[in-house]
Subunit: 285 residues, 2 copies
């Protein structure tokens, strides 16, 4: 199966409206490129469920609060297109900045409450940028289903709320995190780690697993769960940005665990920021 590389909105819309007229269903996998096996799983799942899978590749400038992070973000279009082709994506949509933002942006989508804590607190404007670009892609592609990874849990919660509140006619499919053999969650930013940092990085997942063991073991006080897990992360090479236990829908911090919670963390390893999370179910009494 050949994969079509499309750069303009008008060409994409024409191609998709032909598909739609033939009664074909459309799946969208929004990415910023630098595709890894985590994206691969999203693409495979869409290719199984939809007649036509669109992978968008766009390093979205308005979601970067740090210009250096934006500049450093890996761009590997040809490898990405090959990855999409090998996973049976019909279309790669790779627009330019000018195509997506032809004039200064005045309208945007804001999501309150869910964006106050965690990444929202440390990356001002980030989720407004994410919600806005995802809304644009949903309007351009009009997919039946859109695929997101569980790794970006707060992003997923924000998009879920946007789709529900604004009645966007799309089904959201959540795909579980893909990990390296040693537990490190796959991320385009992993390639920036030095060898020494890469050796340390799996401690993130081990701390999450430790928190999950405590929660499923019956600990109800989130303070206790956090103290234990954070101790595992206390190393000179690593700086904790946050380690929180939150409600999975509202992303608000929880004090007592009375139902499913999500343990979420962001850390800095040298000059690379890594995030990860785990859904934890308390022991049923």
């Amino acid at each position: 199966m050949s994969t079509q590389l499309i750069h303009t909105i008008s060409e994409l819309r024409e191609t998709l409206s032909r598909q739609r007229r033939q009664g074909k269903t459309i799946g969208l996998v929004p990415t910023m490129g630098a595709l890894h096996d985590g994206h691969g799983k999203l693409i495979e799942q869409s290719a199984q469920q939809a007649d036509c899978t669109v992978v968008s590749i766009f390093v979205n400038p308005i979601q970067f609060n740090d210009p250096l992070d934006y500049d450093k973000y890996p761009r590997t279009l040809q490898t990405d297109v090959d990855c999409c082709a090998s996973r049976c994506a019909g279309i790669v949509f790779a627009p330019s900045d000018e195509e997506m933002y032809p004039e200064p942006l005045r309208a945007s989508v804001v999501v309150s409450e869910l964006t106050e804590h965690l990444c929202g607190r440390f990356r001002p404007g980030h989720f407004r940028g994410v919600a806005t670009v995802v809304m644009k892609l949903l309007q351009i592609v009009q997919p039946d289903r859109v695929y997101f990874g569980e790794k970006d849990a707060q992003q997923l919660a924000v998009i879920r709320r946007m789709v529900r509140d604004l009645n966007v006619p799309v089904e959201i499919v959540e795909v579980s995190t893909v990990r390296e053999a040693d537990g490190l969650a796959m991320s385009s930013r992993n390639q920036r780690l030095t060898h020494a940092e890469r050796e340390i990085a799996p401690v993130l997942y081990r701390a999450l697993l430790a928190a999950r063991r405590r929660v499923s073991g019956g600990v109800r006080d989130t303070g206790e769960v956090k103290r234990h897990a954070e101790a595992m992360l206390r190393r000179p090479e690593l700086r904790i940005e946050y380690f929180e236990i939150v409600d999975p829908d509202t992303m608000q911090p929880v004090e007592r665990i009375n139902g499913p919670v999500r343990v979420v963390t962001a850390v800095w390893l040298g000059s690379t920021r890594l995030i990860d999370n785990l859904l934890c179910e308390p022991q049923r009494l």
Copy 2:
């Protein structure tokens, strides 16, 4: 032709997806009810252009900055349905507040710059409420075309920008203002005017016409145009909220007239707020 009254989003979506599968085009006329001939013209134009016209009737609570204005807003559903039927609208969509806002709204659409002045300055949150409900209706109905009146010029500019910036796949149709014989722009709020206020109200249009005569007569200084027109509005019964000359796209006040401008005004007549506007072309040299 019979008009179908629908109250729920799911029933509306089912009905419309049947129409769409039959290749029919859909027109949307978003209203807050209390329909008058201005709305009538929007409905007629949609009925001419689309196979199926949906008139939404929803007094949107989140666009009212003044709770009293919301309470006083006229609600005349049965008359409205008759009006839609006589104008060949296929569907009236009249959802409840709970249907449109089943839970506290967290996601909304904000439009900057265009909303800073004029009504945006005097009605904080108004345009966020308008943009958000229109986005919801566009996602629910997914019309080919959506119809708005020129009378709400700032609203129209905001919606245009939202649709452009967020790539919403819909064509916006602007329909010119319908006026009473004496020039008063039709509005659902006109019915709140006392007899004495109703006699005074047409001065609004006369002041706009006077401004237009000056602009087309070659006056370039907006201060001069405004001074003359505002003098006509200086009466004890009337309070000017704003009288401005703005760029028709950005709604930013203009000092020198070098191209088409929109003269826009809002006044209070007793406890009723009226707005009106006119597009003015300067004399070609």
